[in-house]
Amino acid sequence: MTRSVTELAVSRDDYRISRLAAAAIALTVAEAAIPMPLPGVKPGLANIVTLVVLWRFGWRDAAWVSLLRVLAGSLLLGQFLAPGFFLSAAGSVASLLALGLGQRLPRRWFGPVSHSLLAAFAHISGQLTVARLWLVPHDGVFYLAPVFFTAALVFGLSNGLIAARLLASGADAGAD
C-alpha cells in the first residue's frame, strides 16, 4: 500500500474537538427535522454542546466546535453557501464573541445560563445585522425582532439549564 504523502499529526485535542463537533452536528441535523412556526426561530440545541465545551475546555475549543458545526451542518443540510449558512455563521461568530466576553464574568455568580442567554441574544443580533445589511436591506427586518428576542430568551434559558445540568452531572465527562 502506498503511504500517504501528507502525514497529519493528529493530536488528542483534534480527537476531542471532532468528537464534540460531531455531537453538535447531530443535534443540528436532528433539530432541522423539528417543525417551527416561524422561519428563523430554532431552539439551537447544538449550542448546549458549545456551552459545555466552553465551560470545560475553554473558548478556543468552543470556537472550533461551533464553527465546525456550522460548516458541517450546512453541508449535511444542503445549506452550504446559501443565505441560511451565512446567517448561521454570523450568528455563531457573534455568539462566540459574546461568549469570549461573558467568560470573564466571575463563575461564582454567573453560570452557564448567563452564558447561554448572552450567546442567544448575540446570535440573533448577529443574524439580524447580516439580514439587514445584506439579505433584506430594509428596516422591516426588525419588525419581527421582538419575536426573535423572545425566542432567544426562552431557548437561551432552557439550553443554559440543560448545559448546567450536564456539567453538574458529569455526563459530559466522556467528552474528554
Binding site: F110, G111, V113, L117, F121, F142, Y143, P146, L153, A164
Partner: protein, 130 residues
C-alpha cells in the same frame, strides 16, 4: 397528568444568572414596546381620483361627502377613528371595513375612486414578496 417538575432546575441558576435573565427579559419587553408601537394617527386623509380632497383632524366629529364617478361617498370622523359611512360602489368593501383607527390604515372605495386613510404608520408595506 404529571406536572413538569421545574423546581429541580432552579438550582442550576446562580445569583448572576437571575440578573442576566432579568436584563434579557427587560430587553425583550423593551423591544416589543419600541418596535411594535403603532403610531397614533391624528389626521384622516380623504382622496378622490388620487388627489387629496380633505385632511380632517381626528380629535373631533366631522362629516364629509366626496363626489366620485359613481356618486357621493360619505365619510365620518369621530375622535380617534374614521369610516366610510356610505358609498355607491357595488361591493361595499370600504363601508364594510367599518371604523379604522390604526396609523396607516386605509379604506379604499375603488369603484368611486375615493379612499380614506389615517396618517402615521410610517412607510409600511401592505405586501412583501421575496
Amino acid at each position: 397528568m404529571a406536572r413538569p417538575a421545574l423546581k429541580p432546575w432552579l438550582r442550576y441558576l446562580r445569583a448572576g444568572d437571575l440578573l442576566t435573565l432579568a436584563l434579557a427579559a427587560a430587553g425583550c419587553a423593551a423591544s416589543f414596546a419600541l418596535l411594535w408601537r403603532g403610531e397614533i394617527p391624528d389626521r384622516a386623509i380623504v382622496r378622490a381620483g388620487g388627489r387629496i380632497v380633505a385632511e380632517l383632524p381626528l380629535d373631533r366629529r366631522a362629516e364629509l361627502t366626496v363626489d366620485g364617478p359613481l356618486g357621493h361617498t360619505r365619510i365620518e370622523v369621530e375622535p380617534g377613528r374614521a369610516r366610510v359611512a356610505e358609498d355607491p360602489g357595488p361591493r361595499q368593501y370600504c363601508v364594510r371595513q367599518g371604523w379604522i383607527s390604526r396609523g396607516g390604515a386605509v379604506a379604499i372605495c375603488a369603484p368611486n375612486q375615493v379612499s380614506l386613510s389615517l396618517n402615521g404608520g410610517g412607510d409600511s408595506h401592505d405586501s412583501l414578496s421575496y
